[in-house]
Symmetry: none
Subunit: 204 residues, 4 copies
């Protein structure tokens, strides 16, 4: 069957979103290409026309993930005002997306997959590295800004504060993930409380 370029694009997009959904639900390893193809309504052969294989799909998704993460982050941090408030807003925004946007959550969780972490041929490493570095840069900047501004404490080196913030964020993300597996510590995440406590810890 000959298809137009637009139809092909649709197929490609369907494959990607099907893959992300299934990766999120069942994990990268447990998701077969067959599953992805079926969910996208095409055959495995079609998948191989659009992508070079499983790894290629993952890379595409990692790219998208970086984009959507920083899109949310930049928007939240890019407002005017006290940097600490903006950090608070950013945390809130990230967590809200995690809670409400399943695509966003699936994309974030991709990062914690062993299949990606233990990247034997270093295919994915670059994409993760890139995110990490940008994350560090963005947050370091705003923390520095907050110190200058006077709202963020000055008695800790920025990397330490960054680490505190990063760990907390990661931990909350994991809680969301554990919630869907029924293994979370508490029956739900109280966004406001966690953020308030984090912000207080950073406060000058």
């Amino acid at each position: 069957m000959r298809r137009t370029k637009e139809e092909a694009e649709v197929t490609r997009a369907n494959l990607l979103s099907a893959a992300l959904k299934l990766f999120g639900e069942n994990g990268v390893t447990a998701t077969r290409l067959e599953d992805i193809a079926r969910a996208a309504g095409v055959s495995r052969g079609a998948l191989y026309w659009h992508f070079d294989g499983k790894g290629d799909i993952i890379i595409e998704l990692l790219k998208t993930r970086t984009d959507s993460f920083f899109h949310v982050l930049d928007e939240a941090l890019g407002v005017a005002g006290d940097p600490l408030d903006r950090i608070s807003g950013a945390l809130n925004s990230l967590m809200r997306h995690h809670e409400n946007d399943v695509v966003f959550r699936d994309a974030m969780m991709l990062e914690f997959e062993r299949a990606i972490l233990d990247d034997r041929d270093n295919r994915f490493h670059a994409y993760l590295k890139q995110t990490t570095e940008r994350y560090v840069k963005v947050f370091s900047a705003i923390i520095e800004e907050g110190k200058q501004y006077g709202s963020i404490r000055d008695d800790f080196p920025t990397p330490y504060l960054l680490q505190f913030l990063g760990a907390l964020t990661t931990g909350v993300f994991m809680e969301y993930r554990l919630l869907s597996s029924g293994n979370a510590l508490t029956p739900g995440v109280n966004r406001d409380a966690v953020i308030k406590l984090a912000i207080e810890a950073l406060k000058a």
Copy 2:
């Protein structure tokens, strides 16, 4: 061939520790029974003499994990003095073990494996649940104690403080994990800083 009862116990122990090590290094899914057996210096058949299969090994390891986790935790919390100091000490102890004791770290990380989280036949769920519940109980108690004692803030419900603490701990654990994959935010975890910030956030 191992013949005596003691030698068999050694074989069994070797299999378990080989499994834990390999699960930690390469992930549960990527670890083949063949790998475990070879690392333990026996054949796959021997593995099946001691265990019912991969799942059975995982369950044994999860049991051990619970034991070692609470062993560390109880010891750290079980001293006299200000509950907040004891929490601080417990965090320190857990993180130190994570840093220095690779067996401990591998055991802790087992919990975040998708193969275990997405427990289709609910074989592992009970063991995770058990840990989670005990963790909640232990930490809730000491937080309450701290409130009574006057060193922990009283303006947040205990579950919220617990969640904050839990997320931070999980996040730091993940950082250790990411460090070994080369994907951590920072080149190392500064234990003291993270703990100090966390404790300050809880302080009355």
Copy 3:
């Protein structure tokens, strides 16, 4: 590699006939999927493309067996004339097929495989039941007809005559089977004699 639909059908048919042949020669249990695939000139993977596994192949073969058995039987019984003669003709026809058509013989013998008889998950049972019931119905009818017609003895209930006939048929079939294993009672089956004796026993 077979690519077109027709070629795929050929592959499928080859797999089935190879399976039947090997089941007949070596038994169901002793036949490996590898053997079947190799005999059909394809890989084991191809086998799994066409069938769900060994059990699925068996079911297909059982279906075919029912068809070919009743095809032979109906044709032989469906002529005009004395029912007893028609029974005689049917026995003759079945035995001749057993002697000359190795595919027919293998298909018939499938039924006596323990792997099929001791059908733990009741997958095959339905197919056997179906054949048995139809066999009983067909032969009961013609025996009744023969009684009416006056050529078959009336002093025995039909089920008893049916049983006599069935046992004799089964026994002769087993003889053919034993012949190929070199364990038969006699160096060959004398069709005419056995049938004549059976028919005389039934005669009014």
Copy 4:
């Protein structure tokens, strides 16, 4: 544990009867040595002390089978009187044993196991051959005797009558077997009717 000679004999006998029972219930192939040993209350090692392996057990059982079969047969045929009556009695006796003596039935059925029929290394063949030949000799003799006596028809060569009789017997045995698998033609075997019909067919 050191055991006396008598105890060892008991173990051996237990192993044999456990094996026969399990072979009868689940088939030779599906019965594991582990099953046999467990049913006999010993370990697999013990089994290997008494026997050389699965094949050795089968051979022992085949020997016993021959003995018990001819014991029943000889006793029934060895009376005085009309040979045809004695054949009738023998059939009755064999069928009665099949119906009532599970050990006898299991022993008889052993013969139809593929594992034994398709004896690749010809280990069992001799034992089967021996039975077959003796069976042929015994029945040929009594048929000849019946012809002489005048009660058995003279218009068929003895081998043909023998074959008729043998097939019928085998067929009835199979019916007993199928009964326990739930696949028999009729809900039970009517011994008297089948025998009467067979005898009439042979009658002079």
